[in-house]
């Protein structure tokens, strides 16, 4: 699965530009799902049809992972060919200095900064620029509106992996792997790879309206409290996938939360409950779609979220797949 994770995290896909990620996913799930379609916003919706099983009530289940990543967008180009930019999604200026970014066509740029008035001044995005190495404006092929993503290859640290865009390519990888490993299911399972989560859960909003699921589970990352002097939070890397109770945007459906926890216990898989003080996921938008959806979240504990070097534990990832496969093979208990 590490190869798949590497391929997905290294793909280019700032919000609204998810094409490369979508093509990669299509290639990997072809043959493992009954049908696939791409909706008007660009969400990839793959259905694995259920096989009736006696004694199990079939349900319509939506799994969602977002394909987009945070990035930057060119807002202005100066006479010397330096590119001013604005953030796409929640970009922390501190993580930009010294970073390399890559455009859709493969062009690479580095991020520089105006000389600060005080040496310890907090960097502001308005005072930064991208240098693509063009000698002057005439030789520059970039335009205002071009988007770039962080450039950072995945590093395999053994038990742990670090890469850009684990948020939420790790969720995409888990969904792909689940689609591959799930041989049969009594339910109609919609694997939905959403767009534009980082700019306001836009893809989840429309895909949930289109799919009309009974139950939904978003697979996304959560932060942890296991690094030095972290904000108090009882989530650690390697202690199992996290089952969300609450984040800033939603309260998980208690039935879905318990269904996930009971399944983990039945399968002997480690898990932890998560209360996240900041951030939210696609599940927030799905929950209030139409007349309401029983929605929960399976989270992958991730350190250094929204930096080019996010970190996950490989066991948590594999256990998340096992949990989902187990979940989708049996009855929905909520």
């Amino acid at each position: 699965m590490k190869e798949l994770i590497k391929e997905l995290t290294e793909a280019y896909g700032p919000s609204g530009n998810e094409d490369a990620v979508r093509e990669t996913i299509k290639r990997h799930i072809a043959g493992h799902v009954s049908e696939m379609r791409v909706d008007a916003l660009g969400n990839l919706i793959a259905l694995k049809k259920g096989q009736p099983q006696s004694g199990i009530e079939p349900r319509k289940i939506m799994l969602a992972a977002h394909m987009d990543e945070i990035g930057v967008i060119v807002s202005q180009i100066d006479e010397k060919g330096f590119l001013r930019f604005a953030p796409v999604g929640g970009v922390n200026p501190l993580t930009l200095l010294g970073s390399r970014v890559i455009f859709a066509d493969g062009m690479i740029g580095v991020i520089g900064r105006e000389r600060p008035e005080k040496p310890d001044e907090f960097p502001k995005i308005e005072k930064m620029f991208i240098d693509v190495g063009a000698p002057d404006k005439e030789h520059l092929t970039r335009k205002v509106g071009d988007m770039a993503a962080f450039l950072r290859p995945l590093a395999d640290l053994g038990q742990r992996l670090t890469a850009k865009a684990f948020d939420d390519r790790i969720g995409c990888a888990i969904l792909v792997q689940t689609a591959q490993e799930l041989e049969t299911t009594p339910h109609d399972v919609y694997f939905v790879f959403t767009v534009q989560e980082e700019v306001g859960l836009r893809g989840a909003l429309t895909s949930a309206f289109g799919v009309e699921p009974d139950v939904a589970i978003a697979v996304d990352i959560t932060t942890t409290g296991d690094t030095p002097e972290a904000y108090p939070m009882a989530v650690s890397l390697g202690a199992g996938p996290a089952i969300k109770v609450k984040d800033r945007g939603m309260l998980a459906h208690p039935g879905v939360k318990n269904w996930l926890a009971e399944t983990a216990e039945r399968l002997g898989l480690p898990y932890q409950f998560e209360v996240l003080e900041a951030g939210t996921t696609d599940a927030m938008a799905i929950q209030t779609s139409r007349a309401g959806v029983a929605a929960g979240v399976l989270s992958i504990p991730t350190r250094y979220a929204h930096t080019p070097s996010e970190m996950v534990d490989y066991n948590d990832v594999q256990n998340a797949v096992k949990l989902l496969v187990g979940l989708l093979s049996g009855p929905v208990k909520i």
Binding site: D214, G249, L251, P254, V275, E277, A291, G292
Partner: protein, 353 residues
């Protein structure tokens, strides 16, 4: 139904946003006495239908929404035998230290939100509100036993006994918005003795305090012709300009503004005048912050109104209101519903299919 007893039961019940099952049972018991049908939707909204007497198409319906959830707390971490927590809904951190709570672990555990004595605080700490990550709960158990009974994600409710003050005022927790639920029950009780042609959906909504979520989804599911939210608004108190409050004991506050359809407002006012029910106009220039805000733009949109019960000390455990206002609000709603006819539907421009 005795309003005081019902409000006391509702107020003292636990029902933090997302976990309304406990209080919902009490509401169901009460609503089911007057309803033709009762059900719970996916989000947990309690929906009671009282059919109107109209025999001809088109069948019209009104939805009443009062939220039954309350703000509360959630366990985030266990640390050395103490409980760290986060908030659900808009809590004022200044009023938390020293409160009694119930931690809903494997069994309910009484606890207190610790308040470190002034003697051990630094001069800076004495001057400031304790931030959330410095607050914790003590349930009195040693570390190992605590870990067996309490887990991350367990819900915590603030505890407070319902208290009768002089002058027909009462004080307690979660009057926001269980006082509205009591109003709706009172309204249904009145309607049982009246004729009304429109169907009435009485909805006790969930998750209002975390983003009007129950109203959003229940309105989508029901598709009523019009919607009325019942909520609380700031009552008169020292230190708050009169222009921002209404009088506790002065009768229901009837909102007007962009969130409110002007014909619903004027019909409510005419009804109050006709039946000599004291009321207070409540100018609401922007987002009302109530279920009416979500209802108004559901699907293709619907005419909405908002009736509020004047209440002091909102989002504390000593919310205070007048029982008389609760009764008047319930009565006003019943009389308003009884006045709804096809001519009014036509005036609102409601579709006829």
């Amino acid at each position: 139904m005795q309003i005081k007893e019902f409000l006391k039961k509702l107020s003292e019940a636990s029902g933090v946003s997302g976990y309304e099952a406990g209080v919902r049972e009490l509401v169901r018991e009460e609503f089911s006495q007057y309803a033709d049908q009762i059900r719970i939707d996916t989000m947990g909204n309690l929906i009671a239908l009282k059919r109107g007497e109209a025999t001809q198409a088109p069948r019209r319906s009104i939805m009443l929404a009062g939220h039954m959830d309350e703000i509360g707390l959630l366990v985030t971490k266990l640390e050395k035998g103490f409980v760290r927590f986060s908030t659900v809904g808009g809590f004022d951190l200044r009023v938390l230290p020293g409160q009694e709570v119930l931690v809903h672990g494997r069994r309910d555990l009484p606890g207190i939100i610790a308040t470190r004595p002034p003697h051990v605080l630094s001069p800076e700490e004495r001057e400031q509100t304790m931030p959330l990550d410095k607050l914790f709960i003590d349930v009195g158990l040693p570390e190992e036993e605590l870990a067996q009974l309490v887990r991350v994600g367990d819900v915590i409710t603030l505890q407070r006994q319902f208290t009768e003050l002089a002058g027909n005022l009462v004080s307690g927790k979660a009057f926001d918005d269980r006082a509205a639920v009591a109003c709706i029950a009172y309204c249904l009780q009145h309607l049982a003795a009246m004729k009304h042609s429109w169907d009435v959906y009485a909805v006790a909504t969930v998750q209002e305090e975390v983003g009007l979520k129950g109203a959003l989804t229940s309105t989508f599911g029901l598709m009523p012709d019009i919607g009325v939210a019942i909520d609380v608004c700031h009552g008169n108190m020292l230190g708050v300009p009169e222009v921002d409050t209404v009088n506790v004991g002065g009768g229901p506050a009837i909102a007007f503004g962009p969130n409110i359809h002007s014909l619903l407002y004027s019909r409510l006012v005419e009804t109050a005048k006709a039946f000599e029910i004291s009321y207070q106009p409540d100018p609401t220039p922007g987002p009302s912050g109530t279920d009416a805000w979500a209802m108004q733009v559901t699907r293709e949109g619907l005419p909405t109104a908002l009736v509020s019960i004047p209440l002091r000390y909102m989002h504390t455990t000593v919310e205070t209101l007048s029982l008389k206002d609760v009764e008047r609000t319930g009565r006003l709603l019943a009389l308003f519903i009884a006045s709804l006819d096809e001519a009014f539907a036509q005036a609102l421009g409601l579709k006829s299919e």
